[in-house]
Symmetry: C2
Subunit: 508 residues, 2 copies
């Protein structure tokens, strides 16, 4: 195959223009160009790099409605959602521009020489973070804009000073091509080498494998399935020089309904839960796929309201026929599981539509069957009924790593919440109270990450300004003359606004 077309999510039929399928030579050319561009790009001033990121945002907005329409057709997501996602994508680029300008990401440290120190003098030692090198970014199926070509991984890698080679998701090549062209215009307008950004597409996994194996690639950003993330991590480890893989993979996002909250507002919680569950056809990494609660009237009220809401929920077009099929299989498996009771199914859909589904099981059954704890990507969730706090804790402790964990609680539940929090912290990257995990704010304090298998590296986040740290490494400079020191580490750079740790004391 030398060309491929995207598939309209709503019809499952090919549509739009044909795109050349990229192969090994294209991977090699993109990586060579990225490696060649690396030194020039990382040497850009903070201001120049920030303006480049802002220029990308402008160029994306300048595409106009064509971008929204292409994304609607390819993903099946509705207009308001995609307009919001475009705003998020642009906002993310501007956030990183601000982060780059402020300069804290450089983590500047200066330990001045102590020539008189006994028994040995101390040399002058200075540290800064430098970018890792070219980064391979894999676009996600479920966010054709915010987690794809110019998404969070690309924005944070470019902010760090790394050239980026994107492997676009084959579900939305048209959307990806529009965004890639916008980035290319920003690269040219900023006077940067073209190799700072490349975009590769094709329907086969071989393309991504070749990219991760290219010796010039220094790190990988990925959002997708567990099997996909693990495969890339394995390839990255098997290289002559292993590289870090930041894969955001799989999470069922437990929601714990504490007794007093359930008693006070079980019904309202049930309705609100289904609104979160069915948003975007449930195709979010942070979709609430697991409800944990102690049995009682409050839980009964919750379950009744959630059951009605799911039954009333209309089916929605899913992102791709493959995702729709995988979702249907996941639901069928839960329906056929003798330990699981089907509480409700949503309105039946047609073609590539998926309907919501709600299941119930007991703590003992859940603990004895690991399959119940696996992610079903879509609007399906399992309510695990626990007899008491001990069972609740046992289920919690048995869970794999998660992106999020949510508590619904009232003041009278706080003592119980205090006992649960140390467990939640070990299990999840983000802990919420009285909210729903869908909706990941792009800000400084956000962690969109978490212990394995939520991600392949719990030490980081893929959303929010801290994501830039993934693509940096420290270098120290000992006794270099001012001429040879990086500008940000010279004495005359003090006062440029970047914080510095001078002899262990933080100075702004």
């Amino acid at each position: 195959m030398t060309e491929f077309r995207s598939v309209a999510a709503a019809t499952g039929q090919p549509q739009g223009p044909a795109f050349a399928v990229h192969g090994p030579q294209d991977v090699a050319a993109a990586c060579a160009a990225a490696a060649d561009a690396f030194d020039a790009y990382r040497a850009t001033s903070l201001e120049a790099r920030a303006m480049f990121l802002e220029r990308i945002a402008e160029e994306i907005l300048a595409i106009g409605d064509d971008l929204i329409e292409a994304a609607m057709t390819e993903s099946g997501l509705p207009r308001p959602r995609l307009e919001g996602e475009r705003g998020r994508t642009v906002g993310q680029l501007r956030l990183f521009a601000d982060v780059v300008r402020k300069g804290a990401w450089q983590q500047l440290r200066i330990d001045p020489a102590l020539p008189e120190r006994q028994p040995l003098p101390r040399p002058d030692i200075r540290l800064r973070m430098i970018p890792l090198g070219p980064v391979a970014v894999f676009g996600a199926s479920n966010f054709p804009l915010a987690f794809s070509t110019a998404g969070g991984d690309t924005a944070s890698a470019l902010a760090a000073g790394c050239p980026v080679v994107v492997k676009g998701h084959p579900a939305h090549p048209q959307t990806g091509a529009l965004v890639a062209a916008a980035i290319a215009r920003a690269v040219a307008a900023s006077g940067l080498p073209a190799g700072v950004f490349s975009h590769l597409v094709g329907p086969s996994n071989d393309l991504g494998a070749a990219l991760v194996q290219d010796p010039r690639v220094a790190a990988v950003g990925f959002t997708g399935s567990r099997s996909g993330g693990l495969a890339l991590a394995k390839l990255a480890q098997a290289r002559g020089v292993p590289i870090p893989v930041y894969a955001e993979m799989s999470s069922i996002n437990p929601v714990l309904l504490l007794p007093e909250a359930l008693k006070a507002r079980g019904e309202a919680l049930g309705t609100a839960f289904v609104a979160s569950l069915t948003m975007g056809a449930g195709q979010f990494c942070t979709n609430p796929g697991l409800i944990l609660a102690i049995e009682g009237e409050g839980l009964d009220a919750f379950t009744a309201a959630a059951t009605s809401a799911v039954q009333a929920a209309t089916a929605q077009t899913m992102l791709t026929p493959g995702i729709c099929q995988a979702y249907a299989s996941g639901v069928t498996a839960l329906e056929g599981n003798a330990g699981v009771e089907t509480l409700a199914k949503g309105q039946p859909g047609e073609g590539t539509q998926g309907g919501a589904a709600l299941f119930r099981t007991g703590a003992a059954a859940f603990l004895s069957d690991k399959a119940m704890g696996h992610e079903v990507f879509g609007a399906a969730s399992v309510v695990v009924v626990c007899k008491d706090e001990a069972e609740l804790l046992a289920v919690l402790k048995g869970l794999e790593g998660q992106l999020t964990a949510t508590l619904h609680l009232d003041a009278a539940d706080e003592a119980l919440a205090e006992r649960l929090l140390p467990v939640l912290e070990v299990k999840a990257g983000r802990i919420l109270a009285n909210g729903w995990p869908t909706g990941v704010e792009v800000c400084h304090a956000m962690v969109h990450g978490g212990p394995f298998p939520a991600t392949s590296d719990a030490r980081t986040t893929s959303v929010g300004s801290m994501a830039i740290d993934r693509f940096l490494r420290p270098v120290s400079y000992q006794n270099l003359s001012a001429n040879l020191l990086p500008p940000s580490l010279r004495d005359d750079a003090f006062g440029d606004g970047a914080p510095r740790l001078v002899d262990g004391v933080l100075t702004i």
Copy 2:
């Protein structure tokens, strides 16, 4: 085998008391105790944790001369070196106590709620770093104190709030037992659970393998050989839940002698080089194992002086008979390599002593034979003679990742140095001017790390205060009440001295 004794480095003969060989049950017990102690330990106040680290330092000093004597016997290192190493070990613990107290390591971030924001309000989101969990630390052969039982890995992991299980190096069980007992006394005196620290010993690699595979272990710190580090990294990746391995492995630490510096002081450089090369029998990760320079009179003067100095160098007892043997094999291989000229060998030694060795080759020969670029652990070094700058750059670009890269230069060499620096930054964790790489300052701006295979993770350092970051991960808290938030993230904690990023603005 149920017991083993250490071997006196000078004689190769068993000496001192017998130690029980720890097995799988001991690993399981230590890891279970560490996991049980985790929540209580990580909940300690910054002050309590800092005082605990300082108490360890005091307890180590209180052992007195017995510790120095045990280490001298087991390692063959001379008294002044070990007294210095004890000072470094104690200083390191106190540095981390200071780091813990200052609180910047928590990386506190607060994005306050924006209830009026359109189209959607922003929730209150706060972030802090939490410790990863129990850490397995592997003691190093070449630093029985500073990189072993209470060395940098242990100090930084404890500072982060992680319980530690040390796998002591079998070359110095007596030294390790003395230090482990000191830590245990500090644990008890600080009212902490005993599981905060455990010490396992035994001569077999199976012990370390079992430790890395224990599901309760969350990260690994290692200093040692490339084969050892790679084996641990492989085990860590193959776990059900993969964990990070911070292995500091192998480096030949290129020293570049630039033309004007060579012209001005080739002879002095040659003498100073051999002093660095032979320090501690060359048994440093930062030993200068490779000299790169452009041919000419300056280099001839350097080589002549270095040759004389090596010939005059007396043999020194090496750390273990095994290390001595491996060093001898490495030297023999270089001597037998047709592309390598043996410039000088040091005074012959007896038994477990190793003598210095200096070799010379050309750039083309070096580039065509990867074996010449492999670390020979000990006082051996290869001078690579380059015809011109292009050859120098080609050799540099062909090198694997390094802990350090050193430039000797005069003002007139700075233009050349500027061209070399971008390459050096990509190759090494620390770049020095007009010094020698041996001697790693414990401070805030130190990077003792570098690209693979210098370490398994270039994003970190194992020496200096930044080493604490290795054992942390971010967690964010969304809309938690003040009662449930971690104390450091509550509004009433402002002003405690820890820096906070509030809505993206750094406040102290």
